[in-house]
């Protein structure tokens, strides 16, 4: 992007390290900011493709009966929509934000392993080209659900090895990104940036990185066993050969449950950064936020079987997983209470990032409530595999994870590009998104409770009203996002006469090292690490420790 050249010119000492020209800059780059940009562009491209797939789904479900697609193609759409959104949209989105922000937040010049960073990104376009190419194969794309349960997934045709290999590549990419972030955070913090002074975005990403490192290899193992079951005569999951199809589900969800926190913990960090900025008040309960995040991460490893209560587990197993799952509500509740307490008696303004962050707290909590309902095993038997579950996880993933990514982009784009976004269009984008997302997903609770099961292209006529609303909302939400894309691109490229005239600290309430560098951020930042002294309370998340001490003395 053009702004890097500006930044380059401003900093004479960077002259020998400036970016290359043309396409090779992006292919060869090891710069965390370039790679962050690439990750974000990739992520939003995938959101677009996955969004198109959801429109196929919603168009078919607009009315009962089959109007547009064959049921087999419908199943391909649900499967691919999930894979693209999870592994192509949300996860790379967070890695992109980590690339951009983690080094700038902890005061180091780049990630610890820049070449691995480049490799980790460039695996993704190949992985997704391979995955998406299956749409054009005879027999079509994988249609057995993103959960890839055998034996059904073993019925996949030519697409099968492409699916497995693509998942392997995505996994490698995620692991490299996670190792990079963890190594950077643990080794490259600026002097004085102690662990408990780090911004919460850094904390949540550190914990996310460990989750990724722990579970992505488990997924790789599971899909490799699928591959050998299909092509090499093994029977890991084939009952007729002595294998166990339920074992796959256990292994998959041992990956899968931490995976859902991988997609939400960085959101917690983002929201914990944005709310204090616009409430002009320090985050309430910083320490408890860190401990709550760590508790959620720990619990994520002992609740996996709540995704499979109906497989016929022993009673003791069902009870254990029910109790453990319910426990998650405690640290999650603490987080929500802390955010509300941060807003409480603040001096709030409602710029677009703040609007999205508040919507996150509100709508993510609704997803949390349905999560608590789902935790109760006997009732989960009724909810399981219905649209109630679909509504639940979309509430935590779209107004949860995706809203937080959008909020983060609004919040930091002035720092990245040096150009403010258009606030009015930002607000329009917010309100339309908030309305349409609820029109899309709220009715699905009712459809699910009344008996509509997931992953069906057609339904009994009693569900028609809910589905009409849901489809209207989905189309509206999709179209609305173009407002956002154009608003952001305009800041990237300086359309509509947007000038690079912002101060270093773009938001008056913002704290942290990233606001001490120029806007746009120079191509290289913190080549000489900043020193964070005890009194530099503007530079860290725990910024008014000193004020608090003073206050104690006074009282």
């Amino acid at each position: 992007m053009a702004h890097h050249d500006h930044a380059h010119a401003d900093h004479a000492h960077d002259e020998h390290h400036g970016p290359e020209k043309g396409i090779m800059r992006w292919i060869k780059t090891t710069n965390h900011k370039d790679l962050g940009t690439l990750y974000l562009f990739f992520s939003f491209t995938m959101f677009f493709i996955g969004g198109l797939m959801s429109l196929v789904i919603r168009a078919e479900l607009f009315h009962p009966g089959l109007q547009f697609v064959d049921p087999e193609f419908f199943n391909q759409m649900t499967t691919m929509h999930a894979l693209v959104m999870i592994f192509g949209g949300v996860m790379p989105g967070f890695v992109g934000l980590a690339n951009w922000m983690v080094p700038m937040m902890i005061g180091c010049s780049d990630l610890a392993l820049p070449r691995i960073n480049n490799w980790g990104f460039w695996l993704l376009p190949f992985a997704f080209t391979m995955l998406l190419s299956t749409l054009f194969m005879p027999g079509g794309a994988p249609a057995g659900g993103w959960t890839m349960y055998p034996p059904l997934v073993l019925q996949t045709g030519n697409a099968f090895p492409f699916l497995i290999f693509a998942v392997h590549l995505m996994g490698i990419s995620s692991i490299t990104g996670a190792i990079n972030v963890a190594v950077t955070i643990l080794n490259m913090r600026a002097p004085g940036m102690t662990l408990l002074k780090m911004p919460l975005f850094v904390w949540t990403w550190l914990i996310t990185a460990y989750l990724l490192i722990a579970v992505m290899p488990v997924l790789a193992g599971a899909v490799t066993m699928l591959l050998t079951d299909k092509y090499f005569g093994t029977s890991f999951f084939t009952a007729s050969g002595g294998g166990d199809p339920v074992m796959f589900q256990h292994i998959f969800w041992f990956f899968g449950h931490p995976e859902v926190y991988i997609m939400i913990l960085p959101s917690f960090g983002i929201v914990s950064t944005i709310i204090p900025t616009f409430a002009r008040k320090q985050l309430f309960g910083y320490d408890s936020m860190v401990y709550a995040t760590a508790s959620i991460a720990f619990l994520s490893f002992i609740v996996w079987a709540h995704h499979m209560f109906t497989v016929g587990m022993p009673l003791a197993g069902e009870l254990f997983f029910m109790f453990a799952t319910m426990l998650i509500a405690v640290p999650t509740g603490v987080k929500v209470f802390n955010w509300v307490a941060t807003m409480w008696k603040g001096s709030m303004t409602f710029e677009t990032p703040m609007l999205f962050a508040i919507a996150f707290v509100f709508l993510f909590s609704i997803g949390g409530f349905s999560g608590l309902m789902l935790a109760l095993t006997p009732v989960d038997f009724q909810y399981h595999d219905t649209y109630f579950v679909v509504a639940h996880f979309h509430y935590v993933l779209v107004p949860g994870a995706v809203f937080s990514i959008i909020a983060a982009v609004y919040y930091w784009i002035p720092k990245w590009t040096g150009r403010m976004y258009n606030e009015q269009w930002g607000k329009i984008h917010f309100w339309l998104s908030a309305i349409f997302i609820n029109v899309t997903f709220f009715p699905q609770h009712f459809a699910g409770l009344a008996g509509m099961q997931r992953r069906v292209p057609d339904y009994a006529v009693q569900f028609v009203d809910w589905n009409i609303w849901s489809s209207i909302g989905a189309f509206g939400f999709f179209v609305t996002q173009f407002i956002f894309i154009f608003n952001m691109l305009a800041s990237c490229y300086g359309w509509f006469g947007r000038k690079q005239n912002l101060p270093d600290r773009v938001w008056e309430g913002a704290h942290g090292l990233e606001w001490t560098v120029a806007s746009p951020a120079p191509y290289h930042t913190f080549e000489d690490p900043p020193h964070i002294g005890e009194h530099d309370h503007e530079l860290t998340a725990v910024h008014d420790e000193v004020d608090a001490l003073d206050k104690h003395k006074l009282s």
Binding site: V69, Q382, N438, V439, L449, V456, Y459
Partner: protein, 418 residues
């Protein structure tokens, strides 16, 4: 934010009003909530559901109330100055403990219900449920009664891509079957649930029963239905192309009527599978012409779905004319084969091969018959179809879509079974 909330309420209310209670296929719900259910367990589950729902509503009112008050009152535009408190161990302990106590209050009744649900002992009777792509098989253990249950013919016709049939004109669209599972009320019925191919899940919401049907596993669950009625459900676990088209219908009958039904089933032991047999006709009048059967609709007074000694009995060995075979064959094909091989015979390669010019069809009829009976690879066996049905469908396949091979008579099928 506020607007999103308002929009939700507005949407929610108008939807709830419009909620298709007119279309609701459940007997105990209005189409927007869990049904209250037809068993004691289902009622308990519904109670738990509503309890946890109201707990969530109460917490939401407190938390969101505080948040929206703060958004309203603590704004800079109203001149509010930021306070500088930012931690309190006491407060953190309070809002860690209170949720913990609430959770315990929810966990105890939930555990109680769960323990009851998992107690399959002392059942009065047992039904084995087997999932197939894409139909269910019910076996009444110890009674020598067994049959398949597939999507009702009228729904099946309407659900085809571009059928031009308005689903609203089809009674119980997608939640109706040819042969319903008939159960007595007031008896503890144990289900043994398994699968022949991929994983399915047997779900009847009004009985609060949902259990996965997994190949290699036999899962246990149970129900005890309180009142006679027709309870409808679906397959809840993605099982391939026609996952959405293998519904479940449970007809609960008073004990005496159930016994009468069972006796009739035993009388006509030959499985009434392909030409869907039971009709909602007065029991005595069952005079099932071989034509397309009416389906087990929920005609108000529950009537005996009398299966058809008549339908299966004739023509096991008698030769039929080509026209008769092809006419019957088309019905059998649409009920059993079209889901994979398509009404056009072209299939969905590579998983579901085309029958047009297929080597099986060009080759000798015996191999074709054996393939149909025994299945291969993804294709399930169809041994449960009668000799007549197999002969008809094989003949139909061999004479349709440009195929020009010889027809087959039931006697040849009977011979091939040996």
């Amino acid at each position: 934010m506020k607007k999103g909330w308002l929009a939700r309420i507005a949407a929610g209310t108008s939807l709830a009003l419009a909620a298709a209670s007119a279309w609701a296929y459940t007997e105990t719900s209005g189409g927007y909530n869990l049904p209250t259910g037809a068993t004691e367990i289902a009622k308990e589950v519904h109670g738990l559901h509503m309890a946890v729902f109201w707990v969530c509503v109460a917490i939401a009112l407190v938390v969101f109330g505080a948040m929206f008050y703060s958004i309203y009152a603590h704004r800079r535009s109203k001149g509010h100055k930021p306070a500088d408190f930012h931690e309190s161990t006491t407060v953190e302990i309070i809002w860690t403990s209170i949720p913990f106590v609430i959770l315990i209050g929810l966990a105890i009744p939930a555990a109680g219900t769960l323990i009851k649900m998992e107690d399959t002992r002392n059942a009065d009777m047992t039904v084995k449920v087997t999932g197939y792509q894409w139909k269910w098989q019910y076996e009444y253990l110890g009674e020598d009664v067994s049959f398949f249950s597939t999507l009702a013919a009228d729904s099946n016709k309407a659900r085809q891509l571009g059928s031009g049939i308005d689903p609203k004109s089809v009674p119980n669209y997608l939640v109706d079957v040819d042969n319903a599972l008939v159960l007595p009320v007031g008896k503890k019925v144990r289900f043994l649930i398994t699968s022949n191919d991929v994983i399915h899940a047997w779900w009847v919401s009004e009985l609060a029963v949902k259990k996965d049907a997994i190949p290699g596993y036999i899962n246990e669950t149970w129900t005890k239905i309180d009142k006679p009625g027709t309870y409808r459900g679906v397959c809840a676990e993605l099982c391939g192309r026609d996952h959405g088209f293998m519904p479940i219908v449970v007809k609960a009958l008073p004990e005496a009527e159930y016994q009468a039904w069972l006796a009739q089933q035993k009388g006509g032991a030959a499985a009434p599978a392909a030409a869907p047999a039971p009709a909602a006709a007065a029991p005595a009048l069952v005079e099932l012409a071989a034509g397309p059967a009416t389906t087990a609709t929920d005609a108000a007074p529950i009537q005996l779905a009398a299966a058809t000694p008549a339908a299966a009995a004739p023509a096991a060995t008698k030769d039929l004319s080509r026209e008769e075979l092809l006419k019957k064959g088309e019905t059998v094909y649409n009920a059993n084969c079209a889901a994979c091989h398509q009404a056009t015979g072209k299939g969905l390669p590579p998983n579901f091969p085309s029958l047009v010019g297929s080597p099986y069809i060009k080759g000798p009829a015996l191999a074709h018959v054996k393939h149909t009976l025994n299945g291969a690879g993804l294709m399930p066996p169809f041994k449960h179809l009668s000799d007549l049905d197999i002969a008809a469908v094989v003949s139909y396949e061999r004479s349709s879509w440009g195929n020009k091979s010889d027809i087959v008579q039931p006697a040849a099928v009977a011979a091939a079974r040996k």
